[in-house]
């Protein structure tokens, strides 16, 4: 059974339809890259998958949960689905360690000692062990984003969603975040990422999906998709990136 099922999803903001019948499945351990121009609906699709945006019709299942508008069901879902945002969204009044330990403690009632152990583990994973007591505003953007990833990982999610997580970062900081994500992918995490990093999508994603005008325009194994695009839209998009 697939880890994520998206079935004929429609989503409108007012009179503008941004998702026009999107369907996809993601198997456990797969890494899916969503690419496309801004306004193509890729970020909206990702936000629908964890219920941050309500869909108008269709069906979404993820990690055994059905996306609904019931807050209780959504909370169950979000225990198993992590999301990382473009703007990091760390809690500025809490230290790095507290940022990571908060949700496990209050949502999952994990004992303090154990949540600290987990926090140290995930912080080590993203290469920031020494920043446990630092505050978010003392960190670079890349470091903050790695903490945000660690914070999600501490909930031990089954699926991780990444919403343009490197778009706000300088190139050299982008690299350190991508490295963490690549490590996660290698460790077998199921991941869906909206990204502008074509080279990363090509190298790390098992499958890449090109979205255009609210639809899945073209999809396939990443290497093939990039080296041999079938539609003129994707051909142009890939070409524009090379320049």
């Amino acid at each position: 059974m697939p880890e994520v099922i998206v079935e004929n999803v429609h989503k409108s903001f007012g009179s503008v339809e941004v998702l026009k019948g999107v369907s996809l499945t993601v198997e456990r351990g797969e890494v899916i890259a969503l690419i496309g121009r801004s306004g193509s609906g890729k970020s909206t699709l990702l936000r629908c998958i964890n219920g941050l945006e309500k869909i108008n019709s269709g069906r979404i299942e993820i990690a055994g949960h059905t996306v609904s508008s019931d807050p209780r069901q959504l909370r169950e879902l979000r225990r198993d689905v992590g999301i990382v945002f473009q703007s990091y969204n760390l809690f500025p009044h809490l230290s790095v360690g507290e940022n990571i330990m908060l949700a496990p403690k209050i949502v999952k009632n994990v004992a303090k000692a154990q949540s600290r152990e987990t926090a140290e583990k995930v912080l080590k994973l993203v290469g920031l062990s020494e920043k446990f007591d630092a505050y978010p505003d003392e960190l670079s953007g890349g470091q903050q984003q790695r903490v945000a990833i660690a914070r999600s990982l501490a909930m031990q999610p089954k699926v991780m969603l990444f919403d343009e997580v490197t778009s706000a970062l300088d190139p050299e900081l982008t690299e350190e975040v991508l490295n963490v994500m690549e490590q996660l992918a290698r460790d077998g995490m199921t991941m869906i990422l909206v990204t502008h990093e074509m080279a990363f999508a090509r190298r790390v994603a098992t499958k890449t999906i090109f979205m255009h005008q609210g639809k899945i325009w073209e999809e396939g194994v990443s290497k093939q998709l990039f080296s041999d695009p079938k539609t003129p839209e994707l051909r142009q998009f890939v070409k524009a990136d090379v320049k």
């Binding site: 807050p71 909370r75 945002f85 969204n89 809690f91 209050i106 949502v107 505003d137 914070r151």
Partner: protein, 219 residues
């Protein structure tokens, strides 16, 4: 008629009345703080009707003079057979007045916490209460400190209005002393100075908190 002069014991009387001004301020900020806190929560609630009720409350309180609230709770209720002691009527009126303004100040602070903080905490499976308790309110509290302390200065000065129902706080004490001494310049300058002594440090505190808030957010 023998006039007293404004001397040491008269000044002492003013100082002891200042104590009542402070007590009334504490009642207003304490009571108004508790009521205002819940009104602010209702004002930012996801339930439409709670928001409407809270907004209406704020509009009404801000739209009428404190004096009217005071008259209603003192004269109005006594006509209805409920004779409140001046301290209670004054305390209740100032509480209602402060709650309307604090609710509005704090609503702004809650809403100035970025929307992404809601999304991030929601995505970590927190309940709405947990989001408020651990993520939103701690940040809103920091933002609210300068304006809340600034408002406290207004409350200190506005307690003078309760002199009208005979509650002897600083302004009323000034009137009484003036009636006995007929030295309005000395008396009311002393009264003004006493208000200043309380308000100035509060204003400075508010400004310091404001600067600190900016320094932190631009680090």
């Amino acid at each position: 008629m023998i006039l007293r002069t404004f001397g040491f014991s008269e000044f002492g009387f003013l100082v002891s009345a200042l104590l009542w001004t402070v007590v009334l301020t504490i009642i207003a900020l304490g009571g108004g703080g508790i009521v205002g806190f819940f009104i602010a929560l209702a004002r930012t609630s996801t339930h439409k009707w709670l928001r409407i009720v809270a907004a209406t409350y704020i509009q009404i309180i801000q739209g009428i003079p404190v004096l009217m609230i005071l008259f209603l709770s003192y004269y109005g209720l006594s006509l209805a057979g409920l004779q409140l002691p001046p301290l209670v009527a004054a305390g209740a009126s100032m509480t209602i007045y402060a709650s309307g303004y604090l609710a509005e100040i704090w609503r702004g602070c809650i809403q100035s916490v970025p929307k992404q903080q809601w999304e991030a905490s929601e995505s970590l499976a927190m309940t709405r209460v947990q989001q408020y308790r651990y993520v939103i309110l701690p940040q809103a509290l920091r933002i609210s400190l300068p304006s809340t302390v600034g408002f406290a200065v207004q409350v200190v000065k506005n307690t003078s209005i309760t002199s009208i129902i005979g509650f002897v706080e600083l302004a009323r004490a000034g009137q009484l002393i003036n009636n006995a001494t007929f030295q309005p310049f000395r008396v009311f300058l002393a009264v003004a100075a006493l208000y200043f002594v309380v308000c100035y440090p509060l204003s400075q505190l508010s400004r310091w908190l404001e600067r600190r808030l900016h320094a932190r957010s631009h680090r």
